[in-house]
């Protein structure tokens, strides 16, 4: 294995491990740190790919990813935590050990589901695609297995980062303009969610547990 392949694999592994950390840790602050590290790893991976393929656009995307995913979004969410007293920890619906076992199973599923892509892409990038899919699946699981509003946002960000990882690996990034659009959309989404949380607080709703009024 070349140094390039090793570095690429390390960055991808960090992305997936960070997803597992989000599932494992209960303190919301630790979850934000894990998300931030995941953003750094994604940016590093994009930089590696950009340098390897002499693609300036990809380097610009890497910088954008670093700004949005490693700094801006975790920063915005940290202010939400600071503004909500008494919401320091997640509230797992599925306990942590069981969650970790399920994360393991989801990773296996990801390896099976990614086979057609691995076969088509091949090489040092293709074989890392299952790690991206595993991150996506763990993100879905975080969204259903954790109760706090912030955990749902964290799950959504994991899904998004996992998809970004897959996109970088299979195509060296979809065209810059699309990547740009998607990063900005994610930022928009988080801003919207944060505004919505503020309105919920203003309407006297403390957390999602109280949101049970709509059903058939």
């Amino acid at each position: 294995m070349t140094t390039f392949a090793n570095a690429l694999a390390s960055a991808a592994v960090v992305v997936t491990v960070a997803a597992v950390v989000v599932l494992w840790r209960r303190r919301l602050r630790s979850i934000l740190v894990a998300l931030s590290i995941q953003g750094v790893a994604l940016a590093a991976l994009a930089t590696l790919l950009g340098a390897h393929e002499h693609d300036g656009g990809l380097l610009a995307v890497a910088l954008l990813v670093l700004l949005v995913k490693a700094l801006l979004i975790p920063g915005l969410l940290a202010r939400v935590i600071a503004a909500t007293p008494g919401a320091r920890e997640t509230d797992p619906l599925v306990n942590v050990p069981a969650s970790l076992v399920i994360a393991g199973l989801l990773t296996l599923v990801a390896f099976v589901a990614a086979r057609p892509i691995v076969a088509l892409v091949g090489g040092p990038t293709g074989r890392l695609v299952p790690l991206g899919l595993a991150t996506v699946l763990i993100g879905f699981f975080v969204m259903v297995a954790r109760r706090r509003a912030l955990s749902q946002i964290a799950g959504l960000l994991l899904v998004d980062n996992g998809i970004a990882l897959v996109a970088f690996l299979v195509t060296s990034g979809v065209p810059v303009i699309v990547e740009l659009g998607s990063s900005l959309d994610v930022l928009f989404g988080v801003v919207v969610l944060r505004l919505l949380l503020a309105r919920l607080t203003a309407a006297g709703v403390r957390d999602l547990d109280q949101l049970r009024s709509l059903h058939d």
Partner: protein, 477 residues
């Protein structure tokens, strides 16, 4: 030339943002919808005579022109109603002028995003446009700022963000297939469709599944549909009308375009099985929720799911006949469902509730509102002479004609069950002992009556849209 489409909504939205809100600002929004409708007709004439307009990222073909007409027609209806809705909200102190202005801006943004989605010839632009509709409508759903409305908008943005993320993954995977097959513009609908046969089949299978699940979330299809009844139940009536009447169909039209690529790469059987499964499952969920429904707005929301299910099944069958049925259904359903949601909004304003049990005797107590509800429901259930009757018959004929008798049979049985369920609910709401008769202002009844008239016209003569629908169906058949 295609950029003209976005001019009116952008101007109207911008004016609403900077000017102090007053009814004239809302009327400007109505004017903008009228311009969109006129442009849609203009593009249709142009496409019919000399083929698609534009190229590259934005391109208006027959299907786009048809969808622009649908967007223009339903948003005209919804923005006319928005004027009186906002005026009342401001007068009664439920909304500040600032909220009303924000509402007007967001509605125009919503319309612009849908126009971008139907004119996009690029998978990336399509994705950005559909994502933009989610971001914009979240605040519209939560416009009332009650805990229930905010709960609905939270659910809406979380679930739709998941869906749209899945669609992005599908887009990236399809792009991968395009790059490996050496397609010149691997995000371009037209290039991908032209070179579909050279794409790697297992990868396209994965991509198409992800794209259908992802955009299916916005179209109210199984499995990620649970945002739909809450959002439609809580949003202001004109917003529900826009979402149910057009937004869901815009997402469906994206699936129709993607199906062309999937059929080219995989042959007809995989897309057919996938769409039939999802469509039938959506129909069954909708029917089961309609049976014991207790709320009028949620009833209408689940009925939208039902109609999306019917159209998805027909899209799965494929062929020009089935697809022209789907397109006629999109327009007919958009008009009728728009009328019904606006009428339900009027019911909520007058009665203070949309609980079916609480609405007894509506027809004698409030004749105008009750009659519109009765006619709208008749149109929705596909009774002749409404166009839904024609389009449902067309889709069933196509299903039977393709040798899929059992599919037609399932759809017919579910339709019969839903007919019985909705008729029972309608009887509860419309008939019963009456106390006082009151009349609604003509300003509301007239546009709704006109829209129902258009749905009937469409069912009987179909002129002048028949040729456009045939052309548009060919694009995605």
């Amino acid at each position: 030339m295609v950029y003209l489409l976005f001019l009116a909504p952008i101007v109207a939205g911008f004016v609403a943002l900077v000017a102090t809100w007053q009814p004239a600002v809302a009327w400007l929004g109505t004017a903008s919808s009228a311009v969109v409708l006129v442009l849609g007709v203009g593009f249709a004439v142009r496409v019919e005579s000399s083929g698609p307009v534009g190229g590259g990222v934005l391109r208006v073909d027959a299907l786009s022109a048809f969808m622009v007409i649908v967007i223009g027609a339903v948003s005209l209806l919804a923005t006319v109603r928005s004027v009186s809705y906002l005026t009342e909200e401001v007068a009664s102190g439920h909304s500040t002028r600032r909220h009303a202005a924000l509402y007007s801006t967001l509605v125009q943004g919503f319309i612009a995003a849908m126009l971008l989605a139907v004119a996009a010839n690029n998978l990336g632009v399509l994705w950005v446009a559909i994502e933009a509709t989610t971001v914009v409508t979240t605040f519209l759903v939560g416009h009332h700022r009650t805990p229930a409305a905010l709960e609905a908008s939270w659910k809406y943005i979380i679930i739709c963000s998941v869906g749209i993320a899945v669609a992005f993954l599908g887009t990236a995977v399809l792009y991968l297939a395009g790059v490996h097959a050496g397609v010149a513009n691997p995000l371009d609908f037209t290039s991908l469709a032209a070179h579909a046969a050279t794409l790697n089949a297992p990868v396209v299978r994965l991509a198409f599944t992800l794209l259908v699940l992802g955009y299916g979330t916005k179209a109210g299809l199984v499995p990620l549909f649970s945002w739909l009844p809450d959002a439609h139940g809580q949003a202001p009536a004109p917003v529900s009308a826009l979402m149910s009447g057009v937004l869901l169909s815009v997402a469906l039209s994206a699936i129709l375009r993607l199906r062309v690529i999937a059929v080219g790469a995989l042959g007809p059987s995989f897309p057919r099985v996938l769409l039939l499964t999802i469509g039938v499952a959506t129909l069954l969920v909708a029917a089961s929720m309609l049976l014991a429904q207790r709320d009028l707005k949620r009833l209408l929301a689940y009925s939208t799911m039902e109609h999306m299910g019917i159209m998805t099944v027909a899209a799965g069958v494929g062929g020009p006949l089935a697809l022209s049925g789907v397109l006629l259904h999109i327009l007919g359903h958009g008009l009728v469902k728009g009328v019904l949601f606006l009428d339900a909004g009027e019911v909520l304003r007058l009665e203070g509730t949309t609980r079916i049990e609480a609405l007894r005797g509506l027809l004698s107590r409030r004749p105008a509102v009750g009659a519109l509800l009765a006619l709208g429901l008749a149109g929705l259930l596909g009774l002749p002479p409404f166009s839904i009757f024609v389009s449902e018959l067309t889709m069933l004929r196509a299903e039977a004609g393709a040798g899929l008798w059992w599919v037609a049979a399932i759809v017919l049985v579910v339709l019969a069950v839903i007919l019985a369920a909705i008729l029972a609910h309608a009887r509860t709401m419309l008939f019963g002992p009456s106390e006082t008769a009151t009349t609604s202002p003509v300003s509301l009844s007239a546009p709704l009556g006109l829209a129902l008239g258009a749905a009937v016209w469409l069912g009987i003569v179909a002129w002048p849209l028949a040729h456009l629908i045939t052309l548009a169906a060919k694009v995605v058949a």
